[in-house]
């Protein structure tokens, strides 16, 4: 293989990222459904080409792995520029900004679930309930106690963790399917209770939740002649990046390895002296914290929450995000959120059929591609061994 210089590698990385970025912009801009069909065809062509010209694609892949820091840096810059670039290109950019924010919120929640279900293998089927705990806590505290958002958002996360603690500590005796069943029952109990408890508004939910006001900066104000969603966009982006950083670090550390061990063989892990319950509880608390934070931001941004936002259907949406991308795969979660939250907005025609398609999608993934679109890679610690293989 020829010797490439670093600059060439970086050029390739930047080129690929910019092409994808502006393709997404065009995707937002074009109104008709055709763009989706074209996208699918394009992806098919790329997939075919990647089989045909393996060398070239390996080259690209290589330059990404070599310059992963540069690649990440560039993506972050592009994301920061997103509201302003999209304002230039996309006429309906406010709408797409909102959709992007929702995608990010679901990505945060799904990262939390991925840590629980993907990395540690504790199947939590009530993610929407914890998401709801965060939303209701933040909304209630902001409405009735006039707490500022700097407090309500972390408190939403903490409340989700505390609820998790109350639910999960007693049920650690239950394993696998029973654990899943209990969390499912909890999801139902949560929605049933919300519907019947008056202090959280019953079926009407909480209305007029005040918008975020950070250190005197009102999020309802539009910066630089854009729209006030831009504020929320940056907030969610920052939290998403923090979540990504934390989960990536956890995954790569010995903690991630321990958690994978618990997922793959719990009795063996116990036999090796891993206190499985402690680790599982930690996973659940961290995961729940991020679910709660996602809910809290959602409550502040939309200003209105009600029980239907937190039903089992939403839990299944979050689970399908994790499964579609590939469980225990952080990039996969982002891809899953993008496909399942953002793309359906393009298909206004099928809004009615969306929930049905989610259901079918879960079944189809589990039958035909149980490891998801981007299956997780084996951990490789020794680079020399990796090369020999």
């Amino acid at each position: 293989m020829m010797k490439k210089n670093r600059f060439f590698d970086k050029f390739i990385v930047a080129l690929v990222e910019l092409i994808v970025y502006f393709y997404i912009m065009i995707f937002f801009r074009v109104e008709s459904v055709w763009i989706l069909i074209i996208t699918v065809i394009l992806l098919g062509v790329i997939f075919y080409l990647s089989k045909k010209f393996k060398k070239t694609f390996e080259l690209i892949n290589d330059s990404f792995t070599k310059n992963s820091k540069f690649a990440t840096f560039l993506i972050v810059i592009l994301m920061i520029a997103f509201p302003f670039v999209s304002k230039l290109i996309v006429p309906l950019y406010i709408y797409w900004l909102l959709i992007t924010i929702q995608t990010f919120i679901f990505a945060i929640v799904a990262l939390g679930l991925n840590f629980q279900a993907g990395t540690t293998g504790v199947m939590n089927l009530s993610s929407a309930a914890f998401y709801g705990v965060g939303a209701y806590t933040a909304g209630y505290l902001a409405l009735h106690y006039k707490l500022p958002a700097i407090l309500t958002i972390p408190l939403g996360g903490i409340a989700a963790s505390i609820f998790g603690l109350l639910l999960f500590i007693p049920i650690f005796r239950a394993r696998g399917q029973y654990f899943a069943l209990i969390t499912l029952a909890f999801g139902y109990m949560f929605v049933l209770s919300l519907n019947n408890l008056n202090f959280v508004g019953g079926p009407q939910g909480l209305k007029n939740i005040p918008p975020i006001n950070l250190f005197g900066y009102n999020f309802q104000k539009a910066p630089f002649g854009t729209h006030f969603y831009v504020n929320y966009y940056y907030l969610v982006l920052i939290i998403l990046l923090i979540a990504l950083l934390i989960f990536q670090r956890l995954y790569n550390s010995w903690i991630g390895l321990t958690l994978n061990y618990i997922r793959d063989d719990e009795p063996a892990a116990k036999g090796c002296g891993v206190s499985t319950n402690k680790w599982k509880l930690m996973t659940l608390l961290i995961g729940n914290f991020f679910m709660g934070i996602g809910g809290a931001i959602y409550a502040h941004m939309i200003g209105f929450i009600s029980p239907p936002n937190f039903t089992l259907t939403i839990s299944l949406l979050i689970i399908s995000i994790v499964l579609l991308g590939g469980s225990d795969n952080i990039i996969g979660v982002l891809v899953g959120a993008f496909i399942l939250v953002l793309i359906p907005e393009k298909l206004r025609v099928i809004t009615e059929y969306r929930v049905m398609l989610y259901g079918l999608l879960i079944v189809l993934i589990l039958i035909f591609r149980p490891k998801g679109l981007i299956p997780f890679k084996e951990r490789i610690y020794d680079k020399v061994i990796a090369k020999e293989n």
Binding site: I171, R173, Y178, L181, L192, G359, L366
Partner: protein
């Protein structure tokens, strides 16, 4: 009302619900026996059953024109809905449940949850005005036309219709128990449940037995659906979701894999509901919450259920 009457009323309400829950729970237990799945779509299959029988009753006029007597009509509706739903259950099993049954149980739970949502939404979208709640037609009203339709016993009113439900429920349980315990087919089902490979070696057609089990389970769900419709008079497209969780919880409380356990579990769940509806202030709103809390307690302290055997973790 005297204290005795209150207790009687609670018991009777609980039993009426318990019959329906047990029939769903039996399905879960049967499926869990022959395939290693918790088939969550069962609740929605139950809902489809309610819609099928309602549609069949809509064709009442056509059928009576074909010269069927009133009793004949009732029997035709019961049997036809059971057979139709049985076939539908087998189709779902072939398409989606069996393919995922080889993976871990939680995965199959997830897959069948997805299947259930797909079924529910399909009914909402494709049944004429499927999003609204439907009035379930009466079926037995002509049977008791001359009478008052009910009798009173120490202050509690029992409707003849409900007594009939009770008889049907008991009869079905007895027939099922006979079928599972005394016939060759039942023996085959039990054999597959105990050790599928060994049963295969002994010449049991495993795939056929799985189909048969799903047929029976779904047919029972159809029966439960008719009873549900006649008891509540309304059906909705999303009633199966809650019913599925209730049925599965009942099966687990009774002990998965045990038919009598499922029946007991159904009654435990329904009596908890009836008791909390009567005894707790605003209980009727929170009865499901209380019942689920009881289920969770059961799962914590006795995960193998009332009649289940203790299961050890295999390494």
């Amino acid at each position: 009302m005297s204290g005795f009457a209150v207790i009687l009323q609670i018991l009777f309400n609980g039993i009426m619900l318990g019959i329906q829950y047990s029939m769903i729970a039996v399905g879960f237990t049967l499926f869990r026996g022959v395939l290693n799945v918790l088939n969550f779509s069962h609740g929605d299959v139950f809902m489809v059953g309610a819609f099928i029988s309602m549609t069949l009753m809509g064709a009442f006029g056509v059928m009576s024109a074909a010269g069927l007597s009133y009793i004949g009509l009732i029997i035709v509706i019961f049997i036809l809905s059971m057979i139709l739903l049985g076939i539908i259950g087998v189709i779902f099993e072939r398409l989606a449940v069996k393919p995922v049954s080889k993976g871990p149980v939680t995965m199959s739970l997830l897959a069948t949850l997805g299947l259930g949502i797909a079924i529910r939404e399909a009914v909402r979208l494709f049944y004429p005005r499927g999003g609204e709640s439907k009035k379930f037609p009466e079926l037995f009203h002509k049977l008791f036309e001359g009478t008052k339709g009910a009798f009173e016993f120490s202050g509690v009113i029992f409707r003849y219709e409900n007594i009939l439900f009770l008889i049907i429920g008991v009869a079905v349980v007895l027939i099922l128990a006979f079928f599972i315990n005394k016939t060759k087919m039942g023996l085959a089902i039990r054999a597959v449940a105990q050790d599928a490979e060994c049963a295969l070696m002994m010449g049991v057609n495993k795939d056929f037995i799985i189909d048969l089990t799903f047929f029976i389970g779904s047919a029972l769900a159809a029966l439960a659906a008719i009873l549900y419709g006649l008891y509540y008079n309304t059906i909705v497209f999303d009633m199966g979701a809650l019913m599925g969780v209730i049925g599965l919880s009942a099966a687990v409380v009774g002990g998965l894999g045990n038919i009598y356990g499922a029946i007991i579990g159904g009654f435990v769940f329904s009596l908890t509901e009836a008791l909390s509806a009567a005894l707790i202030p605003r209980g009727s709103e929170f009865m499901d919450v209380v019942a689920f809390a009881v289920v969770i307690l059961f799962l914590i302290f006795r995960p193998s259920g009332i009649l289940g055997e203790k299961v050890f973790e295999r390494v």
